[in-house]
Amino acid sequence: MTPEVRPERLVGDAPPVSRRLVGLLGPLLGLLVIIVAGGMAEYLKPPLGGLFSDLLHGRPIQAFSDYFSGGAPNYWGPQNQCMILTQTVMVAIGAIGMTMIIISGGIDLSVGSVIALAAVAAAWVVRLLAPSSAAAAGLTGDSALWLPLLALAVGMAVGTAAGATNGLLITRLKLAPFIITLGMMSFARGTAKWVANLERIATPSNWIMAFTEQRITLVDILPVNQAAGRPGPVFAFPLFSVPVSWWPGNWTGPVQTSWAVLLTIVLAVGAAVVLARVRFGRHIFAIGSNEATARLCGVQVERTKVWIYSLAGALFGLAGVTDYGRLTVGDPTTAIGKELDIIAAVVIGGGSLSGGSGSVFGALIGALLMAHLRNLCSHLDLPNFVQEMVVGVVIVVAVWLDSLRQKKKA
C-alpha cells in the first residue's frame, strides 16, 4: 500500500492575548525614542549647551540635577508635553474616523477639506446668529450655551453629509474611494471658501474656544515653596500639594490640558470598543479583509460602507469644530495637507491600506508621534521644511519596520 501521510499542522491556536498590545508596542517605542532623543538634542542648542557640550569638550560632568535646576529642555517640560496633546486633538479625532475607513479597505482624501468646511460652517452659524450686542468680548446670556452647541451640531452635520456623499457615491457609482474622495477634497475646499467668502470668519468668543483651550489644571507647579518657607517648588494638585526639593527652574507654571483632549480619549475608547466588540465593527474588518466573502455572508456591504464614511465624516466635522475653536476663527484654508498627516497616523499605528487591519490607539500614537516631531523641530529652531522632510522619512521608516515585524511573524 502507499505510505500513509498524516495531515501537517492542521491545528490552529488562539493568538496570545498580548498580540494586539505588541502591535502597539512598535509605534509606542518609536514615540518614546523621539521624545528621549529629542529632549537630549535640545541640549545641543547653544544657550543650553549643558550636558552635551560638557561631554564634547571633555569637561567633568556635573551632577545630573544641576542641569535640571538650571534650564532643562523646554521640550521635555510637562507644560510642553501637555500642549502637544492639545495640539494633536484635530489630527487625532480625524485619525479615529480614518482608522475605520482604512480598516474597511477604503481611503478618504477629503478629510482636510471637510475639516475646513466644518470649521467655516460652525463659525458662520455663530456669526450669523450672534446677537449684535455680543462683540469681541464674547457671547453672553442664553445664547452663550445654545449657539455654540448649534454651531457644533452644524459642523458635525456638514461632515456627516460630506461623508455620506462619499459613501453613497463610492457604493452607487462603484468607483474607487480614492477618486471619489479626491473629488470631495476639491469640492469641500471650494465650498468652504465660498461660504467664508474667501476670508476668515471672525466670531465672538464662546465656549468652543474654551473647550479647546488648556483650561483644566492637572497640577500647578509653584516656583517658590512658600508653604514650607524655603526655596523650591510646590506641586499644587487640585486637592492637595506636595513640596519637592528640586525642580528645573523653567518647568514651573500650571500643567494644563483641555476638554478636547479628554473628549478625544473618550471617542477613541468608544471607537475601539465598536471595532472590537460591536457587530458593525467586525463587519468593517470583514469588508476590508475580503469584501466578496462579507457580501456572501449576508453583510450589507454597501450600507455598511455608507455608515463608515458617514460616521467618519461626523468625526471629521467634530475635528473641524475643534479647529475653529483653536484658531478662534473659521479659516477656509485651514488643515491643507492634513489628510496626509491623518492617513500617515493611521498607517504608522498599524493600519494597512489594503484593508483588514488597523487600530484606533495605534492611530492616536501615530498622530502623537507626528505632533511631537513638529513640536520638537520648532524647539530645535529647525526650519519648517526640515519638519516636512523628517516627517516624510518617519512615515516610510515606521511602515517599513512594521512590515518587517509582520514578515517575521509569518
Binding site: P7, E8, L10, P15, F280, A286, C297
Partner: protein, 541 residues
C-alpha cells in the same frame, strides 16, 4: 448508512414510490444573451448522500450551482427543497433556507478569527454587541461535529493551513444549519493529507443527514466520496446514476460525449542532444543540490508532494528565485544567475502553477496575454501594430483550439482549460525550446487535459524539451519519457518511466530512498493509487 438510499436499504412501501428527495431541480433554463448556458437541466439529490456533479468546464455546473445558491435567477424551471418550493432571490435567502456553498477559492476573511468567519453575518448579538460566549459555543459545536476541535475558534484564519481553512468553510456551512452543502472543487488547492481529512469530514456530514453536492474534475475523488453522480454536458443533463455500479470510462464518455479510448496517447518522438543541465543546484531553502539533464524531445516528469520544492526548483532554473549554489546550463552554456528576460532569450519558458495571480494578467485580453513575452515582431515604426497582434493571436487560437470569442476577449472570460492553453500558447509564441511547465493541468477539465497531453506530445516530436511538474501521477506515468521525484528539496535520479510504479513514486515522495519499493500490492491500478483515499473509503462502508 441508514439514510443512504441505495438499493435494498429502503422500506418496500417507500421504494415502490420514490426514494426521499432533499432537493429537486426541474427543467432549469438559463441564458446569457444568446448563449444558452442551461437547457432543461434536472437534478435530484437525496438526504444524506454525496452527489457528484461532473462535467467539463463550461458544461454549466457553476451556473447551475449559482442558481441553487441564489446568485442567479433561472429563466425557467423550479426547485423544491424538502417538499417546499424553493426560489432564493439572493445568497442570503439560500443560506437561510439551508443551502451553503463552499467555493473553490476559499471565501474567508483572513484577518478575522475562525469564529468570526464561521458566524460572519449571523453573529449572535445583544444591542449590537457581539455575544462572544454564545459565538464561541456555537463554533465549538460545529467544529466538534467535524471532529476538529483542534482548530481554536479564536485563531486568526490567516495563520491556518489551507486544509484547516477549508474546514472552517465547512464549519460555516454547518453553523448555518445547512441541509445542502455544495463543494466546488474543494480539493484543488489541498495536499493529499488534507484531502483525506476533508473526505472524512464529508463522510461525517453525510452521516448527519446533510446532502453534499460535490463538484470535481478528479473522477477518482468522485469514486472515493460520492454515492451518486449526475453529468452535465453543454448545459444539458446527460445522465446520472450510482457511482459504485458505473465504470469510470462510462462517466468520462458521458462527460465528453465521445469515447476516450486513450487519454494518454503517446506520440512517437525522438530524443536528441542535452539542452538543459542542472548541476547541484540549490536555492535559498529549496531545492537542495538538484542535478539533472534534460534532452531535446524529452518529456521529463517531476513528481512529489506539494511543498516538496518542485516549484522552487523551476523558479530557480528560470531565475525567478535566487540560486544559492550550483549551476544551470542551457545548451551547454551557463545561465546561472540570469533573470527571466535573459532566460527567455535563451529559449526557456515557464508556465506558472498559479494561473490566476502569476501566470496570466487578469485585466488584459487574450491577445495581450499571449504576446506579452515577445512583442518585437509587432513593432512598426516604433509602435505596436494591434492588427498584427490580433492576427497572430487568431492563428494561435486556431492551432491550439482555444475556445474564445476572439483575441480581444478579456482572459477572465475563458474557462480554466482555455486560459491554460493561452498560457501555453505564450510559451510557444515566444519560441521557447525548453518548456518548464508547473502543474499545467491543474483545475482544468478532462477534455482540455487530453488536448494538453496531445500538445505536449506534439511539442516533444518537434524537438522541444519538456520539464513537467505534476501532482497527478496517472498523467505523468501516461505521458512522460522519464520521471524524477522530489522530497524536501532533494531530487531523486531520473529514471525511465517504465521503471516507476505509483507505489515507488509515493515511496520516494514521502521520504523513502530512491530504490523502488517492492510492490506490496498489485491491486492498486495507477488511477486509484494516484490519490490514495483510504480514509474516505472507510467512512463510506
Amino acid at each position: 448508512m441508514a439514510s443512504d438510499a441505495s438499493q435494498g436499504a429502503i422500506p418496500p412501501a417507500v421504494a415502490a414510490a420514490a426514494p426521499p428527495v432533499r432537493l429537486r431541480m426541474t427543467g432549469i433554463d438559463k441564458s446569457f444573451g444568446s448563449t444558452r448556458a442551461l437547457v432543461g437541466v434536472d437534478l435530484e439529490v437525496r438526504p444524506g448522500e454525496v452527489h457528484a456533479l461532473v462535467g467539463e468546464n463550461g458544461a454549466g455546473k457553476s451556473t447551475l450551482m449559482k442558481i441553487l445558491s441564489g446568485a442567479l435567477q433561472p429563466d425557467a424551471g423550479h426547485m423544491v427543497l424538502d417538499g417546499a418550493a424553493y426560489a432564493p432571490r439572493g445568497p442570503l435567502e439560500a443560506r437561510a433556507a439551508g443551502v451553503a456553498m463552499i467555493y473553490q477559492e476559499l471565501s474567508l476573511a483572513p484577518d478575522l478569527s475562525v469564529e468570526e468567519n464561521v458566524l460572519l453575518g449571523v453573529e449572535p448579538t445583544a444591542l449590537g454587541f457581539v455575544r462572544r460566549r454564545a459565538m464561541r459555543a456555537q463554533v465549538e459545536q460545529a467544529l466538534a461535529l467535524l471532529h476538529h476541535g483542534d482548530i481554536h475558534p479564536a485563531a486568526r484564519v490567516r495563520d491556518l493551513s489551507i486544509g484547516a481553512q477549508q474546514l472552517v468553510e465547512v464549519a460555516r456551512a454547518l453553523a448555518a444549519k445547512a441541509r445542502v452543502v455544495v463543494m466546488d472543487e474543494p480539493t484543488s488547492s489541498l495536499t493529499q493529507a488534507d484531502t483525506e481529512v476533508l473526505f472524512e469530514v464529508i463522510g461525517r456530514l453525510r452521516n448527519s443527514g446533510v446532502s453534499v453536492i460535490y463538484i470535481s474534475h478528479f473522477l477518482e475523488e468522485v469514486r472515493a466520496v460520492a454515492d451518486r453522480f449526475s453529468v452535465l454536458r453543454d448545459g444539458q443533463s446527460v445522465g446520472s446514476g450510482e457511482v459504485a455500479t458505473t465504470p469510470t470510462a462510462e462517466i468520462i464518455r458521458l462527460m465528453v460525449g465521445r469515447e476516450l479510448a486513450d487519454v494518454y496517447r503517446r506520440m512517437p518522438h525522438a530524443i536528441g542532444e542535452p539542452v538543459l543541465d542542472l548541476v547541484a543546484l540549490s536555492g535559498r531553502k529549496m531545492p537542495r543540490g538538484a542535478s539533472l539533464q534534460l534532452r531535446r524531445g524529452e518529456i521529463l516528469g517531476i513528481a512529489g508532494l506539494i511543498g516538496s520544492g518542485r516549484t522552487e526548483l523551476v523558479r530557480a532554473v528560470f531565475g525567478l528565485d535566487p540560486v544559492a549554489s550550483g549551476q544551470v546550463r542551457v545548451a551547454g552554456v551557463s545561465t546561472t544567475g540570469f533573470g527571466p528576460p535573459r532566460m527567455l532569450g535563451r529559449g526557456v519558458g515557464l508556465l506558472s502553477e498559479d494561473r490566476k495571480s502569476e501566470g496570466l494578467a487578469a485585466n488584459l485580453t487574450v491577445a495581450d496575454n499571449l504576446t506579452l513575452s515577445r512583442l518585437r515582431p509587432y513593432v512598426r515604426w516604433g509602435l505596436l501594430s494591434r492588427g498584427a497582434i490580433r492576427q497572430a493571436t487568431g492563428e494561435w487560437i486556431r492551432r491550439l483550439g482555444i475556445r474564445t470569442q476572439g483575441p480581444d476577449q478579456p482572459i477572465t472570460g475563458l474557462s480554466g482549460g482555455n486560459q491554460q492553453k493561452v498560457a501555453l500558447a505564450r510559451l510557444l509564441h515566444q519560441e521557447a525550446e525548453v518548456l518548464l511547465l508547473d502543474e499545467p493541468t491543474r483545475g482544468i477539465d478532462v477534455g482540455s487535459k487530453a488536448d494538453i497531453y496531445a500538445l505536449i506530445g506534439e511539442l516533444a516530436a518537434q524537438g522541444k524539451a519538456i520539464f513537467w511538474i505534476s501532482s497527478y501521477l496517472p498523467e505523468l506515468l501516461g505521458v512522460c519519457d522519464a520521471l524524477a521525484v522530489m522530497h524536501r528539496g532533494l531530487l531523486s535520479p531520473k529514471r525511465p518511466v517504465g521503471e516507476w510504479t505509483p507505489e515507488a513514486i509515493m515511496h520516494v515522495a514521502t521520504g523513502g530512498d530512491a530504490d523502488p519499493a517492492p510492490a506490496a500490492d498489485a491491486a492498486g491500478n495507477p488511477i486509484s493509487a494516484a490519490r490514495p483515499s483510504a480514509g474516505a473509503k472507510e467512512t463510506r462502508a
